[in-house]
Symmetry: C2
Subunit: 155 residues, 2 copies
């Protein structure tokens, strides 16, 4: 078989051909954030999704699992093990609901509220540190534009 290729020296950024795409930039940026966030939460034995679930339960006690799954945009079935884990650590309880015994009202325990508070402080510190390379205005703009997009995008 004949050779017909020269291998170029490694270029600085071979993925520059994808730099036109906002989605690609979002994905690469998010993967950096996620890796750092995972390290931050490991201290509390929390994954990002467990932290999110716990935070919402603390902020809005009494939600059912279906409501929480909708809020987090995950499947009800996949929420079960997350709730199991939080409940197993006594951070939340599945409280019975008198009006409808099929449902569980998700309630934070005192320990859950405390962990949510310290983990949230760490998460805020993680973002402060990670996004230190951006100006306050850039961070605010990034946040604002992302939320506007999510709110206004026509699906």
């Amino acid at each position: 078989m004949e050779d017909f290729a020269q291998v170029p020296e490694q270029e600085a950024e071979p993925d520059r051909h994808l730099s036109t795409f906002i989605g690609y930039a979002m994905k690469r940026a998010l993967s950096i954030v996620q890796a750092d966030f995972a390290k931050t939460l490991a201290e509390y034995d929390l994954r990002a999704v467990s932290f999110s679930a716990l935070s919402i339960i603390v902020g809005e006690p009494g939600l059912t699992q279906t409501q929480l799954a909708d809020a987090l945009q995950i499947e009800r079935s996949n929420l079960v093990t997350i709730i199991d884990e939080l409940a197993g650590r006594n951070l939340i309880v599945r409280a019975p609901v008198a009006q409808d015994r099929r449902r569980h009202a998700l309630m934070p325990t005192t320990a859950g509220k405390q962990l949510a508070a310290v983990a949230k402080a760490s998460a805020i510190e993680h973002e402060r540190r990670l996004f230190a390379c951006l100006t306050d205005e850039e961070r605010a703009e990034l946040q604002r534009i992302l939320q506007k997009f999510r709110k206004d995008v026509a699906l």
Copy 2:
């Protein structure tokens, strides 16, 4: 067991307690983009990662698999099936490299260049349509800030 919870009516946005976090906003926005992008590429039987790989190979022919894996930030081992798939469709070839017979120089075929071109046009149209709710300035700012972050963030 005693009931001690009232189930609130479904709130508009139970995840507002996470809205302080840029990472959360990025994740939610990206999932919207990814879902729409997947639909767009399905027309060409491409996944996002196959599109990315093909685009880079077309834009920078001759890269080795290790170089491409680094560019896409995926494991070499996981790139194999992606390259298999593209090569199986005759969109690229693994060309031998005279100087180092361990390596494969990834080269696009004519069909690969053509598919990359039309898929890229569709991808651009997908982003134009999806981000239509943002102004040109907002899109440019979003892109600029994300790229600045990725470039300047201290890991």
